[in-house]
Symmetry: C2
Subunit: 136 residues, 2 copies
């Protein structure tokens, strides 16, 4: 178990955008929201190719900024996410996708039942800055 992903220690990686831009400068952020529960389940990145493909297929296809390649969510696992609606902001440099999971969560981490979580499973305590896992 990695402390970064499972622990209580807040250790924000403020280098992320620099690394993203080095690898793939032509992406914008997209927030994925479960259309049924309203939960924000992931903030990821997309580029023109992934965006076009996602709208065409009606399912979540992103751009992996670590692997610098198309990220067809659930392609191997079957845990696909239908793309129901897409919204763009004023400046047209970020997106919100309303999505419906075929099953389960979107994160690569799993809770104690072995089920994939959604990504924002840890709440930051404002006083202590400790992380509380709300889906342990």
């Amino acid at each position: 178990m990695s402390d970064l992903e499972e622990g209580k220690t807040l250790a924000l990686d403020f280098d992320k955008i620099r690394k993203v831009a080095e690898n793939c400068p032509d992406v914008i952020p997209v927030a994925l929201q479960n259309s049924d529960t309203g939960e924000v389940i992931l903030i990821a990145y997309t580029n023109k190719k992934a965006f076009e493909l996602s709208l065409e297929k009606g399912r979540v296809i992103l751009w992996s900024t670590s692997r610098n390649e198309l990220w067809e969510k659930g392609k191997t696992s079957g845990e696909t996410f239908n793309l129901l609606e897409a919204y763009v902001n004023c400046e047209q440099n970020s997106l919100v996708y309303k999505v419906r999971p075929r099953r389960g969560g979107i994160c690569h981490t799993k809770n104690r039942n072995g089920d994939p979580r959604n990504c924002y499973y840890r709440r930051i305590d404002f006083g202590s800055r400790e992380l509380e896992n709300i889906n342990p």
Copy 2:
């Protein structure tokens, strides 16, 4: 009225991350969600300084990637947003803030009643790629 912000034409600015990283390499994206309605109202950026200050004050303070300075939301307009909860993702490189507006929307654009909108007021038509303004 700017077509980019008010029009029906989809013109995604895929240069955003490159520009952000050039200006301020030490930021991460944060999705702001209205804690009462569940609506995602903004995707913005924060750095260590803005993050710490926001948690201390219990209100939304971001980092403006265009002006490269603290962005104290509502400092002049009074349209502040209380920060109720903050969540971090697995890799600790993005945040979700649950917020409550003191009044109104968060976007600098306004609807026909003169009220500030939230940022995702345009839905992308999957077929035509035209934008539909849901808060004109």
